[in-house]
Symmetry: C2
Subunit: 244 residues, 2 copies
């Protein structure tokens, strides 16, 4: 499995993905699930992926070669805006399904893919999308300022409670790492290292891209700190006085 | 869906179940998912259920009528120990599958059931089991002193971090309510009220059985308190100093 989370904030975007892929529990590898396209001064786009690795890599390869959208061949470096970018990713997913869907079905392999696409292209504000296996997509809004793909349940409670559109980027980094930590702790199929991307709105350049390994000092602070903070918070909650 | 959680502690058992059943999102009802058998001075058993309501009710009805195990008809009031009780529940599940499995398959309804069985019968210590749809089962131990059925992921991180075999019953109550709250908050198919059972080891009588509704004062403390405790804990974590 995989866990990827994206925050859509007033100040920009915070994206985090784990790197574990597994074909069974005895075949585990590290793959980066975050692909970035940057044209400084003009656009930054990042695509995060969950699901079957062969399918997600096929989608990314097609996107790099160019995908036809309404008769015109585009890449993420040429689409005019983020809506077209999401359509392009969706079309790439549909193209892979058209090419491989039948063969996968014959082997009883599910066409399992979900993607997150975030970024900004000059002329509009940053946007964040979740693209489904059918190639259709939804977009994060200020009401629901985060999206998740993959193994999303363990890390959702903290996001539900603490993320708002006005969360600062630096706090967003803290939150996605806490959310990832809950997932890492409870599910073996999500694993370190993790890839982080921070994008400050209207900067049109990657603000920060960083891989955090097990040895990373801040990640350790989060991992140990959050566990003891949770235990402390639970200890400080009042006890029920009606338990005999 | 459903969320049920059981703690297996040195001092006894703490069991909690929600009450929401749904057939689609527009058909929601309240059903108690916790059934209790008590023979004061001799035994207390509680069964918690998740899955298809018709199947879980069929299992409980069969258990009340009596189920044949190795040629002898038993109920949960007559089995000699908890291992036999778990076998009896597993046999009831298999009997329902034998009776209804084919008809369910014809309607493409999955044979979806999982059960938790906890309690104590005089002569041995309290025990806690999780019974699968195949009728086989696992048992909680001091190493892993909790079991969950149904929508278990949202409420797992706090249990992974805070429950140990030496947790006091009163703290166990706090923990299962926090775990339930995370689930309620993040998943609509799990709903209030919740049913709580506390069993103190070697008491051979239900220590506490209580339904907590939305109006319950302590449940409110947990729900509001845990949300703000989580937010507070996140705010108190150090910020990364490397985010530009």
């Amino acid at each position: 499995m995989t866990y990827c989370v994206g925050l859509y904030l007033r100040d920009g975007l915070v994206l985090l993905s784990d790197t574990r892929t597994n074909a069974g529990v005895d075949h585990i590898s590290v793959f980066c699930k975050m692909q970035v396209e940057e044209v400084p001064g003009e656009r930054v786009l990042a695509m995060l992926s969950a699901g079957n690795l062969a399918i997600t890599q096929a989608v990314w390869n097609r996107l790099q070669e160019g995908v036809e959208l309404s008769g015109v061949r585009h890449t993420l470096r040429s689409v005019p805006n983020m809506f077209r970018a999401a359509q392009l990713v969706g079309q790439a997913v549909r193209d892979v399904f058209a090419a491989d869907g039948e063969a996968l079905k014959a082997q009883e392999v599910r066409f399992d893919i979900s993607l997150m696409l975030g970024g900004q292209i000059a002329g509009e504000a940053p946007r964040l999308f979740l693209v489904y296996a059918a190639g259709n997509f939804i977009e994060a809004t200020a009401d629901t300022p985060f999206l998740q793909i993959g193994e999303h349940k363990y890390g959702k409670p903290i996001l539900d409670r603490a993320v708002s559109f006005d969360t600062a980027l630096v706090d967003g980094v803290k939150l996605v790492l806490i959310s990832m930590d809950s997932t890492l702790r409870s599910n073996l199929t999500v694993g370190l290292p993790v890839d982080l991307l921070v994008y400050r709105a209207d900067s049109f350049a990657v603000t920060l891209r960083k891989r955090l390994t097990e040895e990373d000092a801040y990640l350790r602070i989060i991992r140990e700190g959050w566990s003891s903070a949770l235990r402390q918070a639970y200890l400080e909650m009042p006890r029920p006085d009606w338990v005999p």
